[in-house]
Point group: C2
Chain length 271, copies 2
């Protein structure tokens, strides 16, 4: 169905969320060792933002997102891709059933993230900043433990509340406020004794370059991890993300869309 001269090699299921997939596509491109256009990966991003909310489905115990995810996988296979990437951690809850029905290999973001953690440290305590759906799904806990790392979870509800706020703020386009919420969660993680923090939700990858609290905590970005894994599997040279995209904090142009709701104040644990 596609002319061989323009056949993409990598298929990307995007829109989950939209900024997260834009961030992934930017990082994939920026990390490719290339000096000219034609040294880059021929790819296709199929953005399906109308998919039902993944975390809601997992918590409610239904498979609403599976059928449209499967449709996206089928379309990408029809376009002739060799590999598929889903820059959405939560969607990997359905990985097994999607992979079983795909000719193209789906590169698992959890495997990519654990490889990325190993690039940064050999042992220690890892905290995962993820959606409640990803946590319930459990694929990260298994992988991190199996790799010999210890899982670290800050006590109390505030840690996850900050993460939930940050993710919602990214989806609403308020990157600056999302970065503050993420920094609060990272602060709580450090107080809880974490050595490294995994941004195990690609919405949080969007704020990775805007974080100011990374000096005393190793931060691992699941979008960067997935981009590196894709380039490696495709046989392309991968380099460190040279000047990753950041979002400037323009005064008055990046306010929270909510009057009440997510707080952008420092956590109760103190600075």
């Amino acid at each position: 169905m596609i002319d061989e001269t323009i056949r993409p090699r990598l298929g990307i299921i995007g829109g989950l969320g939209p900024l997260a997939s834009a961030d992934f596509y930017f990082k994939l491109t920026r990390m490719t060792e290339a000096l000219r256009d034609n040294e880059h990966v021929p790819a296709v991003v199929l953005s399906v933002p109308q998919l039902p909310d993944r975390t809601e489905a997992i918590l409610a115990g239904h498979d609403g997102p599976l059928a449209p995810l499967q449709a996206a996988v089928s379309t990408l296979n029809a376009l002739g891709v060799t590999f598929i990437a889903m820059p959405c951690n939560t969607a990997h809850h359905w990985y097994g059933r999607l992979a079983a029905n795909s000719r193209a290999e789906i590169i698992h973001i959890g495997d990519a993230a654990v490889t990325e953690i190993r690039r940064s440290l050999g042992h220690g305590r890892i905290v995962n900043l993820a959606t409640r759906g990803t946590l319930v799904s459990g694929f990260y806990q298994n992988r991190i433990s199996a790799a010999g790392f210890e899982l670290c979870l800050p006590v109390g509800s505030e840690f996850q509340e900050r993460i939930d706020n940050a993710i919602a703020l990214v989806k609403a386009g308020s990157i600056a406020d999302a970065a503050i919420e993420t920094e609060c969660a990272l602060h709580l993680a450090r107080l809880a004794g974490a050595d490294a923090a995994l941004l195990g939700c690609t919405d949080l990858s969007v704020v990775a370059a805007s974080l100011n609290i990374t000096k005393r905590l190793i931060v691992i970005d699941s979008n960067t991890a997935l981009a590196r894994a894709c380039l490696t599997r495709l046989g392309f040279g991968a380099q460190e993300a040279r000047g990753p995209p950041t979002v400037s904090r323009l005064a008055g142009q990046d306010r929270s869309p909510w009057r009440a709701g997510p707080r952008a104040s420092w956590p109760r644990g103190g600075r």
Copy 2:
């Protein structure tokens, strides 16, 4: 060929160049008035970086890029899109033949850019930072004149050389050096009496947020213009790009890949 639940409405021909299309996709997403994933445009980016060089083809008088561009248009039509965007100005040399063979409307970047110029000023002198291919193609000169603006072209060869350097540097991933070259070209444009500068090559859109010389010259970005035009035609709310992606200048991580070649020194006209 595609499940209706995930049918994209906007098709994007990407990879021309790769960072330029990543920048476009990021800006399109960032400019969409949305608070949740499902309020975003269902879209597909078909990245075809292996396409023959557009400027080389135009200068040599052949149509090498036309067949793969037509194949991309056909694929996007088969995926059911309503509109197509090409975030590459030079590729619009073949707009007429592509549009004639597409059910989906191809949104012309030149029309979008002139609309964007009109948002910023009512009359004045416009300088176009474009590839030599786009300049030979001539579609901008016609549109800018027809809209009542005066075209401004700095004398001497340095202006276009700086632009050529900047474009090549973006393609090689050296954003910081590309920004310096672009600033040099903008400086020459200001000396030549320009009121506004059009970044009429989407590779230059990548450096738009990194420019430091924009205070005394209105800078119009063709990627932002095309993103706004797409959102408007699709019936989506468009807002100013809130905190557009910028590329941080990390010391030692963004050096020029060439030992000789493009200069990153200030132009002969003096600062």
